[in-house]
Amino acid sequence: MRISPTLERILPGAITFAIGLGVWQIVSLFFLPVYFPGPGALAERMIALYGDPASYVVIGETLARIFEGFAIAMLAGTAIGLSMGRNHAVEVFFDSWIMVLLTFPAVCWAFLSVLWFGLSEAAPILTIVLIVLPFVALNIWEGTKAVDKDLLDMGKVYGADRRLMLRKILVPQLMPYIFSSLRIALSLSWKIALVAEAFGVASGVGQKLIYWFQDTRVDMMLAWGASFMIVMVLIDVIGFRWWARRAFAWRRHFAT
């Protein structure tokens, strides 16, 4: 029997997926849905969530905090990473701060931020910044070390000033690092936001998670978790794929 090549490619994955769903459903029959929801039960609750306009307010609050923290961390982190790449003294000075900051677990910052700022917006945003900024700085710094020195020399010989060098030589080479930092930073940011919200504020998806945790409702926890994960995955896929195509257009012209 002839199978079309596309079908041949997705069939094994699809079969595995279907088997997985089946196993899940069977196992769930042994438990109460509030304790171990099957695929159907979970889907039901998620649909209810998406259908309720109040959910979007909750999700919106979390998204706002994520993006604020993420933006600050990216901007400040990139600036610091760049200056670390340019100046050896700056590099040595900051790398110990970065090492220390990277060692702090999210939960520590979450606690400390709440103790300092109480149940306010600042707490989750600060938590995100304190964790993501060092990571971004480190990543961008690595990128500056990988810049082609020959091209920098060429620019110097032809008398390019600092701004021109930055625009035309440095930043294009840093784009892959900026790009990968952005993606990972966003992914970190939203997970941290959930932890911070669980302890620190009275709203948002994280707060829902801890609410249902304290109510021992695994089904609702998973429903909120999965619903939010889907939102973040969509943002990642749509946002970054589109941007990647534009930013790396010159690579597609590669003939060989």
Partner: protein, 260 residues
């Protein structure tokens, strides 16, 4: 080019500056509950380490239990990850089925994993272990899988012509080729592990540093929270940079220095 002494000096200087800023901020705050200064915290740490804690347990008990959990979870995750990654590299079936599940596990936020594990396994060690493994194993697996894909097929083929069997193949042909990938996963996985253990201890376990975080947090005792945070961070820094960095350097000593 800065001399070695200059570099070390600058590093130490930057840490000292951080502590100085902390001290200045704490003085500005007046209220010792908001931001205790470095000296106060030092004193608190001293007290914690020398006298029995709030429930009659010494700080060393908590620290020891946390360390034990970290190491057990870390090794379990590494072993599982290496096994699964290798299996993915060798078997298409494994590859296909795990590829369907792993991205999901990698995207799931840690806190959700911890919550679910605690609710399913109760306040037990199993819960904490499951939570860590659910997050760290997929990460290690993906890393080792990349390494397995990059393995030299001709070497395995050669071994098979000499009738080598799986256990020998794994030990002498596969694992050595995976070593760089294992090492690269090692450090990052360790970093992830202790953060998850800290989180799991906060919610679901008795004893441990995370447990103490939450205990003092509930009492709004800033001094104690800071004291325990610092003890934890210092301990992890020593482990990360003292132990792991040294291991890494020795393991990669054979790599030729890159040409100028």
């Amino acid at each position: 080019m800065m001399s070695r002494a200059g570099t070390i000096g600058l590093r130490v200087g930057s840490i000292l500056l951080l502590i100085l800023l902390w001290w200045a901020a704490s003085r500005l705050m007046h209220d010792p509950d908001v931001l205790p200064g470095p000296l106060a915290i030092l004193h608190t740490i001293e007290t914690d380490l020398t006298t029995p804690g709030p429930e009659g347990n010494s700080a060393f008990l908590h620290i020891g239990i946390t360390l034990a959990r970290i190491f057990i979870a870390f090794f379990a995750s590494m072993l599982a990850g290496i096994g699964l990654g290798l299996a993915m590299g060798l078997s298409r079936v494994c590859e296909r089925s795990l590829l369907a599940v792993i991205p999901l596990l990698l995207t799931t936020p840690t806190i959700l994993m911890v919550f679910v594990a605690v609710l399913w396994f109760g306040y037990s060690e199993a819960g904490g272990l499951v939570a860590v493994m659910a997050v760290v194993t997929p990460y290690v697996t993906v890393n080792i899988y990349e390494g397995a894909k990059a393995m030299d097929g001709s070497l395995a083929a050669m071994a098979v012509t000499f009738r080598a069997r799986q256990p020998l193949l794994v030990r002498k042909v596969y694992l050595p080729q995976l070593l760089p990938y294992i090492f690269s996963a090692f450090r990052f996985a360790f970093g992830m592990t202790w953060k998850i253990v800290a989180l799991a201890e906060t919610f679901g376990l008795k004893y441990g540093i995370g447990y103490m975080f939450f205990f003092w947090f509930e009492q709004f005792n800033m001094s104690q929270v800071l004291a325990w945070v610092i003890m934890f961070v210092v301990l992890m820094l020593i482990l990360e940079h003292g132990v792991f960095a040294r291991l890494e350097r020795r393991a990669f000593a054979w790599r030729a220095a890159p040409a100028r």
